[in-house]
């Protein structure tokens, strides 16, 4: 079938066999399309429905659960736009608003690490741009198989080079993220990219096509044959293990002929960003949508479904890189660096002038109509005629879910029986073993490939607890961002594990002195067809919803990535949670490292004997079992409020969150980041004090002379504070246990990744 498959032909030939299964539709879904249209779909329509109804685009398995994330009135008080828009928009004061979102590019990054990761950055940046905001920073949360696994040597350097290539060339600072290793990601790495953008309140743009007669303009790169079927076939299905060299079929059902991973051009994206911002400033745009997954199919259906009328598209007008593309392929192509705008006819000339100034190709491909239908013609025939909402809304599944039986055995086999180090020498060796393990070691091998400075507003970047970007130079207003996730905790308890990730990101943002205000998330899970995985997803969403309510901050958007598994084995359930904070004056930001000798070192929060899912259990014993640490979100709120108050009064010299590896790793990092040692005495059992991963804790050093004031603040906020010692010298000294010179900490910490990756 090809261009001849018009609506008329389809109506007259109901018996034609169509390759709906190859395109990822089930028999029921295909029948539903036929019912909607009252005839069989054309090849182009079939392609359109297949990508729009894919798991990746439609959220058909997760939608019933995601509804629980809708913020209540209290949580929504700073929201200008919420879930459903391309990204949520948060009021940060002084007339500024911020939009941020995190998105997965897991499967493309496994098939082709460099381009897969690069286009992940490109896609999320266009999402933010489509809201009317100037993108100001990116972050990436990365998870790979074991660092020394053969395939990690292919995937990790490729992913990092892709992010480096695209983000650096695009001119967006990379201000942080995560890097974790676990065997569960060996055949399915997680590449989650976050972008944050800033706008003035009145700049908010909507993804709607309104106003009959308004022109639809496609601008940016030409449409090529890359990424055809990326959303439906690649991102919405499981890797089998043998089919790693994945290629997608095309709309006509011919043999697979090209890679389904897109190819990115960050230079074009930079031009597109500047071009769009000029178009916004000149008020030439009525509605705008980025082209990401499902390309033209998605942009046209979503714009028209969000608007009040229909849309007509002349597909012959779409500029192509490959003239042999069929209408189905044009609709499904995921060629990068494209945007679609709805523009009043009298403003088209001005629109085109700005595009020309930025050397961005722009073409009127259609217009908004009043008939409520999305209609597309190609070479004289009508190849698409559908009610757009039927494609945009997609099916909703109540997938069965059930707590896996295997969980009980996992919870019973707790860490209690693991041999613990005893004595100063054994504790010392354990500190160094953890510090040099790939998940906790120095990440500079990665971060040195990223530009964190461009645009000149980066106040904090990795290895700090969170990124911090100045928004207003005059007032010091800024935004802090952190992402966190822990698949090991979530395997033991997806609800609690998700709340631990939320609490950690919330705490990380507060460590800079910023007030946490909003949450985004990227839910990475296995196949939704597995009831155990669906249970994990449902539990994680419940944890996130309840956690955000307890913290009083809204979820403003997110992304779900399913089918992350190899064969029948799913990844650890890995919700990655991003928290946005507002800093009223970035000049008073706190850093993680000890900045001077003679400062009192204080541990905040309560330490319990909690080792289920801990870094120690993993590194020392390759053990995963028992209960993850308890979560006390009220304690997290008090801790955050304490740090924010202390930062605002300049009472603290440093603040560092405790997480993986507990106090031991926090002490080592504070010494290394600031270049000052410390001498501390540990309360209670030394092993528990050093390596427990109890949540809601932080390590601070107090500004000299402000000790009493800080103690009073701790009492006022009801946060337990234990004075551990003082910053001093060039070693980490734990009284009655051990001493490690900073030089030894440094070489242990910094040597690991270069030794593995060169």
């Amino acid at each position: 079938m090809s261009g001849e498959d018009t609506v008329e032909v389809a109506a007259a030939t109901p018996e034609v066999q169509q390759p709906f299964k190859e395109l990822g539709l089930t028999t029921d879904e295909y029948q539903k399309v036929r019912d909607i249209l009252g005839r069989r779909p054309t090849a182009a329509e079939l392609a359109l429905y297949s990508v729009m109804w894919s798991e990746h685009c439609s959220y058909k398995s997760s939608k019933v659960h995601l509804r629980n994330l809708a913020p209540n009135a209290d949580q929504a008080r700073y929201l200008l736009a919420g879930i459903g828009a391309n990204a949520g928009v948060v009021d940060i004061g002084q007339g500024y608003a911020v939009t941020f979102k995190i998105e997965s590019h897991n499967h493309p990054s496994f098939v082709e690490p460099h381009q897969g990761a690069a286009t992940g950055i490109g896609g999320i940046v266009r999402d933010i741009l489509a809201m009317g905001a100037r993108p100001v920073a990116v972050m990436d949360a990365l998870r790979f198989g074991p660092a020394d696994a053969h395939d990690t040597a292919r995937v990790l350097p490729g992913v990092v080079s892709g992010i480096s290539f695209y983000g650096n060339c695009l001119g967006l600072p990379n201000i942080g993220g995560e890097l974790a290793f676990d065997p569960s990601y060996a055949g399915n790495p997680l590449v989650n990219a976050l972008c944050v953008g800033v706008m003035r309140h009145d700049d908010l743009k909507a993804a709607v096509a309104t106003g009959t007669g308004n022109k639809v303009i496609l601008f940016g790169s030409r449409t090529g044959p890359d990424g055809v079927g990326g959303a439906s076939v690649l991102a919405s299905a499981t890797f089998g293990g043998a089919e790693q060299d994945s290629t997608a079929g095309d709309g006509g059902g011919r043999a697979a002929k090209r890679p389904s991973v897109q190819v990115g051009d960050p230079f074009m994206e930079k031009l597109l960003v500047e071009c769009c911002l000029e178009l916004f400033a000149a008020d030439l745009v009525e509605g705008i949508q980025d082209l990401g997954a499902a390309g033209v199919a998605c942009a046209t259906t979503e714009l028209s479904a969000g608007g009040d009328g229909g849309m007509f598209v002349d597909m012959d007008a779409i500029p192509l890189r490959d003239p042999s593309l069929t209408p189905a392929e044009i609709l499904m192509s995921e060629s990068q660096e494209r945007m679609m705008a709805v523009v009043k006819p009298e403003r088209v000339a001005a629109f085109m002038d700005i595009c020309r100034r930025w050397d961005v190709e722009a073409t009127v491909i259609g217009e908004v109509t009043g008939d409520g239908m999305l209609t597309m013609t190609w070479r004289g025939g009508t190849v698409v005629k559908i009610p757009p909402r039927t494609a945009a809304d997609g099916p909703v599944y109540q997938r069965p879910f059930a707590r896996p039986d295997s969980l009980d055995a996992l919870l019973t086999a707790g860490p209690e029986g693991l041999v613990r180090p005893a004595g100063g020498q054994a504790l010392r060796e354990t500190v160094l073993t953890l510090l040099g393990s790939p998940g906790l070691a120095d990440k500079r091998w990665v971060t040195q490939q990223y530009d964190s400075l461009v645009r000149g507003n980066t106040v904090l970047a990795m290895p700090e607890d969170s990124g911090l970007v100045r928004v207003a130079e005059e007032t010091g207003l800024g935004i802090a961002l952190a992402t966190d996730g822990n698949g090991r905790y979530c395997t033991l308890d997806p609800c609690q594990g998700t709340q631990l990730a939320l609490a950690e990101a919330y705490r990380n943002v507060a460590m800079t002195g910023a007030v946490p205000v909003a949450v985004t998330n990227c839910l990475n899970f296995g196949s939704p067809e597995d009831p155990g995985v669906m249970w994990q997803l449902a539990e994680a969403v419940r944890g996130l919803a309840e956690g955000c309510q307890a913290l009083g901050i809204p979820v403003t958007g997110g992304n779900v990535s399913l089918y992350n598994q190899t064969g029948a084995t799913a990844i650890h359930p890995t919700p990655v949670i991003g928290v946005l904070g507002v800093h009223d004056d970035v000049r008073r930001r706190l850093r993680a490292g000890f900045t001077a000798d003679g400062a009192e070192v204080v541990l905040l929060g309560t330490t319990r004997d909690e080792f289920g899912g801990s870094a120690w259990a993993e590194v020392a014993h390759q053990h995963l079992g028992g209960r993850p640490p308890a979560v006390d979100l009220d304690a997290e709120r008090r801790l955050a409020a304490l740090i924010v108050a202390a930062a605002s009064g300049s009472v603290l010299a440093s603040a560092h969150d405790l997480s993986d590896g507990g106090l031991a790793i926090a002490l080592a990092e504070a010494c290394l980041h600031g270049g000052h040692g410390c001498a501390v005495a540990l309360p209670g059992d030394a092993f528990t004090a050093l390596f427990s991963e109890s949540a809601g804790r932080a390590l601070v050093s107090v500004a000299v002379g402000r000790e009493k004031e800080f103690a009073a603040l701790c009492a006022e906020h009801d946060v337990p504070a234990t004075v551990l010692g003082i910053t001093a010298g060039d070693a980490l000294t734990v009284e009655n246990a051990f001493q490690i010179p900073l030089t030894e900490l440094e070489s242990t910490w910094s040597g690991t990744l270069p030794a593995i990756f060169g």
């Binding site: 080079s161 060339c169 001119g171 230079f267 040195q448 530009d451 400075l453 645009r455 000149g456």
Partner: protein
Amino acid sequence: MRIGVVTFPGSLDDTDAARAVRYAGARPVPLWHADRDLRGVDAVILPGGFSYGDYLRCGAIARFSPVMAELIPAARAGLPVLGICNGFQILCEAHLLPGALTRNAGLRFLHVNVRLTVSNGRTPWTAGLPVGDLLTVPVKNGEGAFVADEATLDELERAGQVVVRYADGAPNGSARDIAGICNTDGNVVGLMPHPEHAIDPLTGPSSDGLGFFTAIVRGSDPPYPPARDPARPIAETAIVSGARDRANRQRASGEAL
């Protein structure tokens, strides 16, 4: 003082260069790659970034842009020009500076803070920076290894055209640890490190980079020949226009690319 900052398609650190100019007490003037117009500025900065996506070679396409047709002769006539990172690459491609910038020794993009030693404090961009001073400034690039033939390197050293060196060894394989050079007249300077990202300890590793921008502002009293004022007829600046014609011819041949 008015200092032009050129924006090419793909320039990224242009806002940062403009901010540094502002911090130094001068007025930044945006210059557009497609305009053959230097707007009468007293000096020009070619900022960092990936002009034209680094396609073909870093700086190879930007060098043929209309604004360069004005800038090249003006620079030859003495206009102070500072090229940072991609700007340095463009100056080499434009033959305003000798040598070339090639892939880093490690073949990866590298962003680190480096210590620089000032070896020439007589250019308009380094005047007043004591020779031997250590400055902490970031480098961030993929193609930062300066190369030239041995004779050119010897001549650069002999003539004092090495402006700054990496104090602790070049992290990118740059010949003789060279981090920045100038032309024989000293008015055109290319730097691979980014002084505009070291103007405030809040947003960079130090404020050591600000000295490059205060130098030009402080030195503006004994004026360097300003770029041609667009209000003035071309004939008044004969040398400039002669050089511009040459540049035009080069540009015309380049457009055939």
